[in-house]
Symmetry: C2
Subunit: 188 residues, 2 copies
DNA sequence: CCTGTTGCAGAACAATCGTTCTGAAACATG
DNA sequence: CATGTTTCAGAACGATTGTTCTGCAACAGG
């Protein structure tokens, strides 16, 4: 009972995520968060404990979505097909204001340490998943013999980060498709 | 005449650049800038006009250094040799806290518009220089026929941004060398 | 040594930050 | 319709932000 809330937790997180992606953790001021989410200050503190809690919640939700995109990398058998499926999924999504995760990396020295650690862990995990599939591809002869699988995994991870930054400068989604097209020439 | 100043403009800019690279424009607070540069508030305002002026000066100096690194791209004849020299120069430099220019991109919606425009212009210009050399390579038969030179230029630009982000997560410079090694397989 | 000028160190400023608090509004229940 | 509970809207809080100001220190020239 009591007065019904005028917001949905998911909806609030969606809008907060959007603002955080545009302005960053420090750059997104509480007043803007209140304006954008429609959630009043009181409820914001009751629901999320404060700005940091809201950011953490938004980030975790976002990383969850990203993890769903990389689900293809977990399939068996490990190989290039999984990597290609991963990129296809990435391409289907659009990132109008860049990627919250990548943007947040740049705030390493501004964020509470445990928040940043969340991102670093996720990045390492994704790279590991990529590596698993590249090793699998190596064994199955999908990659040229003598390929540096580890270096390739790092390369792909770095490229993903780069594409997310490039998306801010050139928001046209077609660019991303073109860039990923070039990646094909590496995967063999 | 008058009391001699205890600072050098270049030294101040160097230290300010370092702090801005770590914390970003909004994240680098004036008190920290004062502490790090050793420049007192009064002189900071007299010399640079304020935080925004200091950032703009630091950024322009930094972009100048980056431009020096990409000088190889301006040489004739345009071709892959120039691109390789560019990457060698990039690799020789080290970026302990990532790249100020790339880090600043994520602050697009926080920065004064004309400051952000500086970065965007620089990125576009570098990509154009890359494209010139890729087209040259195409004509001279250094690239496989039918290669998407424009896409390749976008790819390389995005990759550079990515490597600078990756350098924050994995500060080991050896990683960058490894990643650039993979790029070789694209340049042919 | 005095005087004029410039830079230094820190106090003081309004504005804004994230956070907390207060009183009224909007329901479910008896 | 009263009562209890939960949320809402906005005022109020101390702390910190970028900026400006004030008094003193350190030189060059006469």
């Amino acid at each position: 009972m009591g007065r019904p809330r005028t917001y949905t937790r998911d909806e609030v997180l969606r809008k907060a995520t959007d603002l955080f992606a545009r302005k960053g953790y420090e750059g997104a001021h509480l007043q803007e968060l209140v304006d954008v989410t429609g959630l009043n200050r009181f409820s914001l503190y009751k629901e999320f404990g404060g700005k940091e809690g809201l950011f953490q919640a938004a980030l975790e939700g976002y990383l969850g979505q990203l993890a769903a995109l990389s689900a293809a990398l977990q399939r068996d058998p490990a190989g290039l097909a999984n990597v290609r499926a991963f990129y296809a999924a990435l391409l289907a999504e659009d990132f109008p204001h860049g990627c919250l995760a990548v943007n947040t990396i740049r705030e390493k020295h501004v964020l509470p340490a445990h928040v940043y650690a969340t991102i670093e862990r996720f990045a390492a995990e994704t790279e590991r998943s990529l590596l698993r599939n590249l090793r699998g591809a190596e064994q199955r002869g999908e990659l040229a013999p003598g390929t540096d699988a580890e270096g390739l995994a790092q390369f792909l991870t770095a490229l993903n980060m780069g594409v997310m930054s490039y998306a801010i400068v050139a928001p046209d989604p077609a660019c991303r498709a073109r860039i990923y097209g070039v990646v094909e020439s590496v995967l063999r």
